[in-house]
């Protein structure tokens, strides 16, 4: 590769450093002999290189590697302690407890709400109420008999001979739930002796 003036000028620091390939060296030096401009720049760079850097002292060189290692280890430990805050057993237990408490509170609230909703849909009624009694399996013939036993409020008359002829038919028409409610009422009034 033929070296021109500009290329040689660029390579002057490399020449002073001794990093010019051997095969280029003679061509390089021939150009320097002939070119005053390049020689001037080479002298200037040589002058620049004489500007030394003040020595910080042996102690600085001895201590620096250990100091850097110490700082790096210290920073690493700080980073580790910051991350470990989030993984300590006590905060974990506290967090789990709070979460459990929240879940329990939520579940209880939801259950209460459900119960309330059910009770609103199916309010408790007296087993003797007309609204509760299922008349679906009662024929037209039975209606006058039932009507006879209803009072002005639509409640069955519990006095008189209720057991006479409608007793079996009436109870047969009740659902198991209604029977249970009836049994509870009777039990409460201590009228289940028979």
């Amino acid at each position: 590769m033929k070296l021109d003036h500009d290329r040689i000028k660029e390579m002057l620091p490399d020449y002073l450093k001794g990093s010019i390939p051997k095969e280029m060296r003679s061509e390089f030096e021939t150009h320097l002999k002939d070119c005053e401009n390049c020689r001037g720049e080479l002298s200037f760079i040589t002058e620049m290189m004489k500007v030394e850097v003040p020595e910080p002292g042996d102690l600085f060189w001895q201590m620096l590697p250990r100091r850097v290692k110490g700082i790096v280890e210290e920073e690493k430990a700080k980073r580790f302690s910051l991350t470990s805050i989030f993984f300590r057993p006590l905060p974990i237990a506290a967090t789990i407890s709070v979460l459990l408490l929240l879940v329990i509170t939520y579940t209880t609230t939801m259950q209460k709400k459900e119960i309330k909703e059910i009770s609103e849909v199916e309010p408790f009624s007296s087993p003797f109420s007309v609204a509760v009694v299922d008349y679906s399996d009662i024929s037209e013939k039975d209606i006058p008999i039932i009507e006879e036993r209803l009072d002005v409020n639509g409640e069955y008359l519990q006095t008189g001979n209720l057991l006479e002829f409608s007793y079996y038919r009436e109870f047969a028409s009740l659902s198991s739930k209604e029977m249970e409610s009836l049994y509870e009422v009777l039990n409460k009034e201590q009228r289940n002796g028979g």
């Binding site: 000028k9 660029e10 620091p13 490399d14 450093k17 990093s19 005053e36 020689r39 001037g40 720049e41 080479l42 002298s43 200037f44 760079i45 002058e47 620049m48 290189m49 004489k50 500007v51 030394e52 850097v53 003040p54 020595e55 910080p56 600085f60 060189w61 620096l64 590697p65 250990r66 100091r67 850097v68 290692k69 700082i71 790096v72 280890e73 920073e75």
Partner: protein, 180 residues
């Protein structure tokens, strides 16, 4: 030991390799940082900061570039950021720091010339100064300088050429023309 081996050793938990890396490059980095800052104490402090930053970032170091170039990049950025933040004031360099006993007239003149070169370097635009420092003082090739400065080789050549030309002009103004 090769730089990449030392880095591998550090990543796999051998923290003693940090010391070896620092010992290998501390003088080069100190000289570079000093030539950017022109202050011994700042250069010492910034050399330490450069190594701490480099070691902390070793896990993210991609082996596409050499460790040396990468370390130079960190040193340059750390020094320039420091100068920008602290609004660096020019520091008078005392002859005694250099350890020269300027008795003879030639010595006095030599010292004066070096001080002018140092001050002239400080007056150069940042990129021109960096190109000269890396090429002349740190002995980096054009390619290595381009990588350390984060620019093209062409830009390095231009910065270097303009910087040297300007510096010669500054010295000429002071009556110190360097001839062949």
């Amino acid at each position: 030991m090769e730089d990449f081996d030392l880095i591998e050793r550090y990543i796999s938990g051998d923290e003693d390799s940090i010391e070896e890396l620092v010992m290998k490059y501390q003088k080069q980095i100190y000289a570079l940082v000093y030539r950017i800052t022109n202050d011994i104490e700042e250069a010492k402090d910034l050399t330490q900061k450069t190594f701490v930053k480099a070691i902390n970032g070793l896990k993210g170091f991609r082996k596409e570039a050499s460790f040396k170039t990468w370390l130079y990049q960190i040193a340059i950025n750390t020094s320039l950021n420091h100068i920008r933040q602290s609004k660096h004031e020019e520091v008078e360099i005392e002859g005694s720091i250099m350890g020269n006993k300027a008795n003879a007239l030639t010595d006095i003149m030599e010292n004066e010339k070096r001080n002018y070169i140092r001050k002239g370097l400080d007056e150069l635009p940042e990129r021109q100064r960096l190109a000269i420092v890396l090429r002349v003082y740190n002995g980096l090739s054009c390619n290595e300088t381009a990588k350390a400065m984060g620019c093209s080789e062409g830009a390095v050549k231009a910065h270097y050429h303009n910087g040297v030309k300007r510096l010669r002009g500054i010295l000429k103004e002071k009556g110190y023309e360097v001839r062949s």
